[in-house]
Amino acid sequence: MTSQRTHPAHPLLELRNLSISFRDRRQIAVDRVSFSVLKGQTLGLVGASGAGKSSVARAILRLVQADGGEILFKGEDIHRMKSQQLMAARQRIQIVFQEPSRSLSPKRTVAESLLEPLQHFAIGSPTERSRKVKKILLTVGLDHDVLHHYPHQFSTGQKQRIAIARALVTKPDLVIADEAVSSLDVSVQAQILQLIQTLQAEYGIAFLFISHDLAVIRQIADGVAVMYRGQLLEQAPADTFFSQPAHPYSRLLLSLASLDEPSPVLNHQQQLNPDGITNHRPSACVYSAGCAEVMPVCGQSEPARIEIKYKNQNMRGSHCVRCHLYDETNINET
């Protein structure tokens, strides 16, 4: 819409085999992850703590360096952009963090926090900037008499609205919401989710919505991607994912979410893998140790990414899974 580089054939954001490691490559946080986010759509990225979700988010913003793979924003690799191109991309990608009390500078007023991106990207004249700031505050449901208040004068929910306003003030194409509603209590959570959906409908913003809470994902996402120990195990359109999850790990998550208590088990997974370190042998499936449907082949070779074909192919997006259950030779069930 604004950029000529927007190509109809390209997804807005596409990750191709993204790998990230820490401590001189001894800790693999993200292992060959590929997924795409379409314009104006919400992709829910699900997984336990330490699965690598936040590392993916930070790599998209270039806060951490990728070791391998590509992050294509409107068809261009973010990690290979020249500074001017990168500046333009940064204006179009914004982030909302989990803890609103930590995501706003404590010593800066709302006006200062919201004006900063506009000043940095040299958007508009000073009067236009302050008009934009007032407008975006109204959009997120705050009055403009809060402009000269400091973050500590607000409730958690209000702070998150301000953080969302800061993310939206540059009119981005993509907003990464990293557990953006997880620290809010249920009623505030519902309000913020409502706000995000309204904004998405109004401005056509795409969201990469990172959460460990499947109930939230079900409410908001058009597509779902599941991560486990740095790998992407499944990506599917939301309705397909919630009706016919393919990967055993996805099925486990869904069965636990239906008990309305997703957190204890995710924590349990975390205990199994406290550091989020992927130390598995590359010749095995990452989930083979915890899988209920483990087969001999799971310990011998790593499953490839397989696209599941359906008889009536009228759904949006493809359904991909990394699991030996779906190898050509293993398809005994339909």
């Binding site: 913003l61 914004q94 982030i95 963090f97 706003l104 010593k107 940095h120 990207f121």
Partner: protein, 278 residues
């Protein structure tokens, strides 16, 4: 900042400290503006006169008025304290912030190495070496203190910057591509101000104490008088039973240091309670 001030005002000890410092600071200001303590070098009486209405604290060996000398010395103390505190705090804050932000880079390694070297030199030897190297320049003492005192501030700020760099508001600033200089000065350092302020009061106290010791050793104040020089003079007098210099200098020094310590303590309390970045 209002809330810190209000909290400080409700702390009796803190305010006592504040008023003690204010009295000394006022004396120093009056000395600087030429209204007080100007006749510190004038011989106005006999040798070792005792307390009288003309010489409230008596006179010294040369017949100089000890009150005048004590008042002038508080200006000396503030001159040393302020100059050393401002310079070493600036240096420590900037170098600490750079080391913390570029943690594990060559810059961090270099700053930590320099800090390690400076911390391992015995201070009084270092001060003597600087005084010798600068041929008795009157700023040699100030320089020796600035060069060595920034390291503690830098270490504290470095740790704080490393902690704050992980904060989401800093990541948000990095995500829009703000340059490190802007992020450090606009988003990181303002959130260390409470630590900088408390550390500065501690450096101030250290500078005043060190000035006294260096002056006592003859490495300090050259053309003037300070509590340290008065104590050096008194080392002979006390044995002879003349306590004027000794009592005046040590009571003045003690009061000012107590004032600063009371203020530093309650400042720390007032800042801690404030909802800063946790």
């Amino acid at each position: 900042m209002e809330s810190v001030w209000q909290r400080l005002r409700s702390d009796g000890y803190g305010m006592l400290g504040f008023y003690i410092i204010a009295v000394f600071a006022l004396a120093a200001l009056l000395v600087w503006s030429g209204l007080l303590g100007q006749s510190w070098a004038v011989v106005s009486g006999g040798r070792w006169e005792s307390i009288s209405s003309t010489h409230w604290f008596g006179t010294n060996l040369l017949g100089q008025d000890i009150l005048q000398r004590t008042l002038f010395s508080s200006a000396t103390a503030f001159e040393v304290g302020l100059s050393v505190t401002i310079l070493s705090t600036l240096l420590g804050t900037v170098l600490g912030a750079l080391a913390g932000w570029f943690r594990s880079s060559w810059l961090d390694e270099l700053i930590l190495w320099v800090k390690g070297v400076l911390d391992s030199i015995p201070f009084y030897l270092f001060a003597a070496a600087i005084a010798f190297a600068l041929q008795g320049n009157r700023w040699a003492m100030h320089l020796a203190m600035v060069i060595t005192f920034w390291t503690t501030t830098a270490r504290i700020i470095r740790g704080e910057v490393i902690r704050l760099k992980q904060r989401e508001f800093v990541e948000a600033a990095r995500a829009i591509g703000l340059p490190p200089r802007t992020i450090i000065f606009r988003h990181v350092l303002p959130n260390t101000s409470h630590i900088v302020l408390v550390q500065a009061t501690i450096v101030f106290v250290a500078a005043i104490k060190t000035e006294v010791i260096l002056s006592f050793l003859g490495l300090g104040i050259q053309n003037g008088v300070s509590w340290g020089l008065m104590l050096a003079e008194s080392s002979q007098e006390v044995l002879a039973g003349h306590f004027g210099n000794f009592a005046a200098a040590s009571i003045a020094l003690f009061l000012l240091l107590v004032g600063f310590n009371l203020l530093a303590d309650s400042l720390q309390d007032a800042m801690d309670k404030r909802r800063s970045v946790s």
